[in-house]
Symmetry: C2
Subunit: 307 residues, 2 copies
């Protein structure tokens, strides 16, 4: 099996790479705790060499495509955000080449959030993603779709609209970060268990329902404290309840959009939570079964060869 692409996912906290064959199948994989936060400025080339130099040397002419925060201002080389709508061709045409013809970074995407403002002129603010665009393209490829609504839960959850193979619009929610802030640094932390505990589905869904029926997490979150104050829930239940409040908040806003079927890209634990919460909104989901970042990088590389 001759390697055709070195696919690299270089994020904030970790560095992962895979050698892909001509069909996009994984030949070999590696992972390092060498996220861009752990790499000193100027040391990206050395880190790359140490991590993947032998693979590059073993296959002369091997190309490498990288996705993730490695293309941010704090990364190896800044890959300016590509404006939406953006598809394979737009991204392939906007790669940031670290070594021309050999190593390139996939750009992140930007779009604008414009809101109705009553009598006021609509104000526009930018939104961004970096890394998720590659996962989205990988998932679309793997599922054989050209139109979809995709959900990528996480520290900063993304909801992505793809039409005719191009990412048309997306929106970021600070869901995972908000949960961590409330869980670790707020007054709620006092009555939550110190260690994470297994999901209590009933308590989680109670939180989801409350979030869906109310107007703001700032209001619902306080009930995590009062339920403890009146001994109406155990610390373990409250942790699942808070998780439901936060995820339910995201779904309350997005449920307005009316998608009845979404593509869900998440870790096993988050996927379970989102499946439960989405079902509560009457939304079904499909989870791609392959390594979508590798699939996405392979698809982008392939579109380059064809152009």
């Amino acid at each position: 099996m001759t390697p055709s692409l070195l696919a690299v996912d270089w994020g904030t906290t970790s560095l992962r790479g895979a050698l892909l064959d001509a069909m996009g199948q994984v030949i070999e994989e590696r992972a390092f705790m060498l996220g861009i936060m752990n790499v000193p400025a100027g040391a990206f080339a050395d880190t790359f060499e140490t991590s993947f130099g032998d693979w590059m040397a073993a296959t002369p002419g091997l190309r490498c495509l990288m996705a993730g925060m490695v293309g941010s201002r704090q990364g190896w080389l800044e890959a300016p955000y590509c404006a939406c709508p953006a598809g394979f061709a737009d991204i392939a045409g906007a790669l940031a080449w670290v070594r021309p013809g050999q190593i390139a970074i996939v750009p992140g995407l930007r779009c604008e959030q414009a809101e109705r403002q009553g009598e006021h002129l609509a104000d526009r603010v930018p939104d961004v993603m970096r890394g998720e665009e590659t996962q989205v393209f990988g998932a679309m490829q793997a599922l054989g779709l050209s139109d979809a609504c995709l959900v990528l839960p996480g520290t900063h959850s993304k909801w992505v609209q793809v039409r005719a193979g191009r990412i048309e619009h997306f929106s970021t929610f600070m869901t995972g970060e908000m949960f961590a802030l409330l869980r670790q640094h707020s007054i709620l932390a006092r009555t939550l268990p110190a260690q994470d505990t297994a999901l209590d589905e009933a308590a989680f869904l109670r939180g989801v329902r409350r979030a869906l029926a109310s107007g703001s997490l700032m209001q619902t979150a306080f009930s995590t404290r009062t339920l403890a104050l009146f001994d109406q829930a155990s610390p373990e239940q409250l942790l699942s309840y808070l998780s439901g409040l936060v995820i339910g908040e995201e779904l309350r806003v997005q449920a307005r959009l009316g998608a009845k079927h979404v593509v869900l890209i998440a870790s096993v634990d988050l996927a379970r939570r989102y499946q439960l919460a989405l079902a509560e909104c009457g939304v079904s989901c499909v989870i791609p079964g392959v390594h979508i970042t590798w699939a996405g990088l392979f698809a982008i590389a392939k579109s380059m060869s064809m152009s």
Copy 2:
């Protein structure tokens, strides 16, 4: 001027007291950084004696009424929450007596938040306040009102409905705490100024408008980061913008209630922000001009003398 009441506001971070005359006017005031968090368990009586013992000794028979977290489980003596609706008489009848006939603690209030849940049975969760009830009664007294919607911004903002002189319902928003969490512990902290800066009204109102037009702070908050990423606002502007997003979130939910006039109980800085934000919603406000905690404690004491 013979003192008729020692009014004490004993909160989480500070201890304040005032000697009031027979008309409720302040004769003398004291403040200490001796909130209940700084008082060891069992040391409340000593702390009280050191702070106000001379005043109590100078006027034999002087009564003392205390409000605030001193009545919580972590305080001097737990004063169980009084159920809403609750007026002067309900509170006066539920005082927790530290020294019978002499020193008493005003109980906090509880109510229930029930939400429409579509096809689901309405779930109820408790809400609580401790200290604000006294401010509310003081403000109603000072303004000569028996019906009002009151707003008490802060770490945990309260919106309070008073009808026929009784607190009928209230709702808590973790507004101030959410701002502090985002400002200090979130990814947004990286692009905000280290020190607090003067309010930029235009940036603040931009945040308020965005919050009013959107669905969740979890979504709007991320724009604080992206505006920085594209250099579309200075760090100082972003701090005011984030403040507008958070306060606007509270108002978006409460604006539904339809009150066109509210009583605003806030510090000077917060009062300015809420006035600006409320005006954006077409809501006018009045700010009581007296020390309302003292007025509230005096009113409760007076209702006891009459009963």
